[in-house]
């Protein structure tokens, strides 16, 4: 008897979130109307308009920076570390208490599956605030001094809206800085809910300011003369523009940019877990991950077996409604991103790589792309060189460890890499030779607040997370 075990829809309720028809800017502890235009944010899974959000003008950004400066000089930089920690702990606890609300809102605005926002994003956000709260009164032991920089201008991407906010705001506040943060234009809602949480935590006005908008708003923050520190996560192109904009100024900069990580599978790897790691490496968060394992380097002798297992596994991925608790892969974040993924995939085919997509039915509305793998890819192919930032995996093979290292490092990026082998000594030797900020061994896409994260080469500079993450927000030992 052949049976089919269909999983009935198991949608997480939307009732817990209250999305307002329009949102202003969060400046000096209050929500205020912007002086610029407004823009719409949509649910990428349905194309439904969720809310109108203010686009901060130069004047709005200036007001936000002024508020941050006031809060810095009058309150936050004078407060003892242990007092600052109390606020951060309070924020962390409220994030946990309102975790379900944040997770649902994140999935609605971003398109990521609720299982990821619920089990990864939000818990790691809370962990980040807890972790840096712990540092606030121990900066003496950080190795980077105890003196904050001042006002930090922070611009974050749409792939992990709240998590990137946490990576930026938690260390900045712990070190005594105040911030002006701009969330991405397609995913502003959880940052605005976070602003509400700041109010709920009684955070002094002006310590955190959230200004929404697109490129112009970001430029206004980065080039504002009273901003002491710029932190950016996003594309390499914008990162380069920011580096040019701040050149010659006294601003400190950290950039966390693109990647084209190699996930390297040796023939003695634990194959079933390696396949899970490959899937997690590229299909986690629809591949909208700067450190995604978008290049699979697999040792020739197991290549066929790995591909067979990988395709079988990909066929079980459940693509669809991000709010369904059984969804593994959600919606592409925007029409623009979908167009970019399609374009590069078509180029991959045109360049002669073999394309295979998991058999799955895609919803008719919204932005969707089936999990896809390209085989027969060479180093010369664009899909092996450019960041696709979508659920598209390029597969290359290698024969020797040296060839694997050579291919893995042959990229302008250097954010992350993965090594799969049962041999401990090989893990260590590969980690030494790979030019990547993070090297995962027999796992992939694992994030922890205690672990520094950042890139080599065009993947940016500076580290976020861990003790190293404090350096970007302190003046250093000598000053």
């Amino acid at each position: 008897m052949s049976t089919v075990f269909e999983y009935a829809p198991a949608p997480e309720s939307r009732a817990i979130v209250d999305i307002k028809p329009s949102y202003g800017l969060f400046i000096d502890g209050e929500f205020v109307d912007g002086t610029g235009k407004a823009f719409k944010t949509v649910n990428p899974a349905t194309e439904e308009v969720l809310a109108e959000v203010a686009e901060a003008s130069d004047a709005d950004v200036d007001a936000a920076v002024k508020a941050a400066r006031r809060a810095y000089t009058r309150v936050w930089s004078r407060m003892s570390g242990s007092e600052r920690a109390k606020y951060l702990y309070r924020i962390a606890r409220i994030i946990q208490e309102r975790g379900r609300e944040l997770a649902v809102l994140e999935s609605i605005d971003n398109g990521k599956p609720i299982k990821e926002s619920r089990d990864v994003d939000i818990p790691v956000v809370a962990a980040h605030f807890f972790y840096y709260a712990g540092w606030a009164d121990k900066l003496k032991y950080s190795g980077y001094g105890e003196t904050p920089l001042g006002v930090a201008g922070q611009v974050i991407p749409w792939n992990f809206p709240l998590l990137m906010l946490a990576w930026k705001i938690a260390p900045a506040l712990a070190c005594g800085n105040t911030v002006v943060l701009k969330p991405a234009e397609t995913t502003p809602l959880t940052a605005l809910l976070f602003a509400e949480i700041c109010q709920q935590a009684d955070l002094p006005p002006g310590v955190v300011n959230i200004v929404t908008g697109a490129g112009d708003t970001g430029r206004a923050i980065v080039s504002h003369p009273d901003v002491d520190k710029v932190a950016f996560t996003g594309s390499t192109d914008v990162g380069k523009a920011i580096a040019r904009a701040v050149a010659g100024s006294n601003k400190k900069v950290t950039l966390e940019l693109g990647g084209k990580a190699a996930n390297i599978v040796f023939d003695d790897a634990p194959l079933d877990q390696a396949v899970e790691g490959i899937v997690n490496g590229i299909f986690f968060n629809q591949g909208h991950v700067c450190c995604a394992g978008s290049r699979l380097l697999v040792q020739e002798s197991v290549a066929d077996e790995v591909m067979e297992r990988l395709k079988r596994r990909m066929a079980t991925l459940r693509v669809g409604d991000p709010l369904d608790k059984n969804t593994d892969v959600g919606a592409i974040n925007s029409a623009e991103q979908l167009a970019k993924i399609r374009e590069l995939s078509d180029i991959g085919e045109a360049e002669g790589a073999e394309r295979w997509s998991a058999p799955c039915e895609l919803p008719s509305n919204g932005y969707w792309f089936a999990p896809t793998v390209f085989t027969g890819v060479s180093q010369a192919h664009r899909i092996a060189r450019e960041e696709i930032f979508g659920p598209v995996l390029s597969v290359l093979t290698f024969r020797t460890p040296s060839e694997a290292v050579e291919k893995a490092n042959n990229t302008p990026f250097g954010l992350s890499a993965g090594v799969w082998t049962d041999k401990g000594s090989r893990i260590l030797s590969m980690a030494n030779r790979l030019r990547a900020g993070v090297v995962w061994a027999n796992t992939f896409n694992k994030f922890d607040p205690t672990s520094p994260f950042g890139g080599y080469k065009e993947s940016g500079y500076g580290r976020e997370g861990g003790r190293h993450g404090l350096e970007a927000y302190l003046k250093g030992e000598d000053s």
Partner: protein
């Protein structure tokens, strides 16, 4: 690289164990060890994360009703106590045939599982109901007896009418690396089973590592076991999701190579409907839907059945009933 048996999938009609596919592998202790130790390793963290991930699947409404009925049909309703009585076994057999006397649509369980001396009693009650009698044998649960005694134990159960034999492997031999001894033991028991189906119990709680579970799985499949089973229920930990995951991967890979399907039976410690559904999700997504059948997947359990019945009643009536409305085992 996965070692490949000398001639793979060429004769799917015969069981791979009897068609000589593995002759090269089981030629000597060292060739068998080479094969088993050449199987891809298991990363403990990754394996446990995968099992936990599948455990978060949300199975509701129609799919829950489907899963509950399927789980009931997969139960080997078990009593393996020194204090078992003929009366208790008769009651258990009756319950296996009609788990919910108030609801004739409730399916029967797959089998009852008893000690060999209770087989005749169970058989008498079950008659030709279709519910099988499974007997634990080979000096269950420790497996510490001479080979001829183990075989006599099997013989005794088969003669009393057992449809299925649940044997235990010699863990001492396995852990000390005498793989061929274990292989031959299983093969001999398989022969003694005659027409009865053989389930091979590893006692995974004593094997300690997932690598060992994978090796034991291949060993038992190559030796001709019809089912591989986690535990006796007498040792903790008994069945766990990650251990069952490894075994489901093994039967899936074994079919890829030989064309033969082998069943999987987690036993011990599975007490709730929620647990059972997690196992079924794992069967569905790891081994595949072909295994979603009592011929290929079983639960070794005693208390599980009542929880399944309570949940089933809740699904149909919308209300929970107290435990007093369900028979004691």
């Amino acid at each position: 690289m996965t070692p490949t048996p000398s001639s793979t999938a060429s004769a799917p009609a015969e069981h791979a164990a009897t068609d000589g596919s593995f002759d090269d592998i089981v030629r000597s202790d060292s060739s068998l060890r080479r094969f088993l130790h050449g199987l891809p390793g298991v990363d403990q963290v990754g394996c446990e994360a995968r099992a936990a991930g599948l455990g978060t699947r949300s199975i509701k409404t129609t799919s829950k009703a489907f899963a509950i009925d399927l789980a009931i049909r997969m139960v080997d309703l078990t009593t393996l106590e020194g204090q078992d009585t003929h009366g208790k076994v008769r009651a258990l057999a009756s319950k296996a045939m009609r788990p919910d006397p108030a609801d004739p649509t409730c399916p029967a369980t797959a089998a009852v599982c008893v000690y060999p001396d209770m087989v005749a009693t169970a058989k008498q009650t079950l008659g030709d109901s279709g519910v099988h009698v499974a007997a634990v044998a080979t000096a269950f649960p420790s497996g510490r007896a001479a080979m001829d005694i183990k075989l006599a134990d099997v013989q005794d159960a088969v003669e009393a009418g057992a449809d299925e034999i649940d044997m235990v492997i010699d863990r001492g031999a396995f852990l000390s690396g005498r793989y061929l001894e274990v292989f031959e033991e299983i093969a001999q028991v398989r022969e003694a089973c005659g027409d009865a189906h053989l389930k091979v119990i590893f006692e995974t709680g004593e094997l300690q590592t997932y690598d060992n579970v994978r090796r034991a799985s291949w060993l038992a499949m190559m030796a001709g076991g019809h089912f591989i089973k986690t535990s006796t229920g007498k040792v903790q930990p008994a069945a766990t999701l990650p251990v069952t995951l490894i075994m489901l991967e093994a039967v899936r890979d074994f079919r890829e190579q030989t064309g033969q399907m082998v069943g999987v039976k987690p036993a011990g410690g599975i007490k709730t409907t929620k647990d059972a559904i997690k196992y079924l999700v794992m069967v569905n997504e790891i081994a595949g839907p072909d295994w979603l059948d009592p011929d290929w997947f079983r639960f070794g359990a005693s208390t599980l059945l009542n929880d399944l019945l309570m949940q089933r009643t809740k699904m149909t009536t919308g209300r929970y009933s107290g435990p007093d409305y369900f028979t004691l085992d």
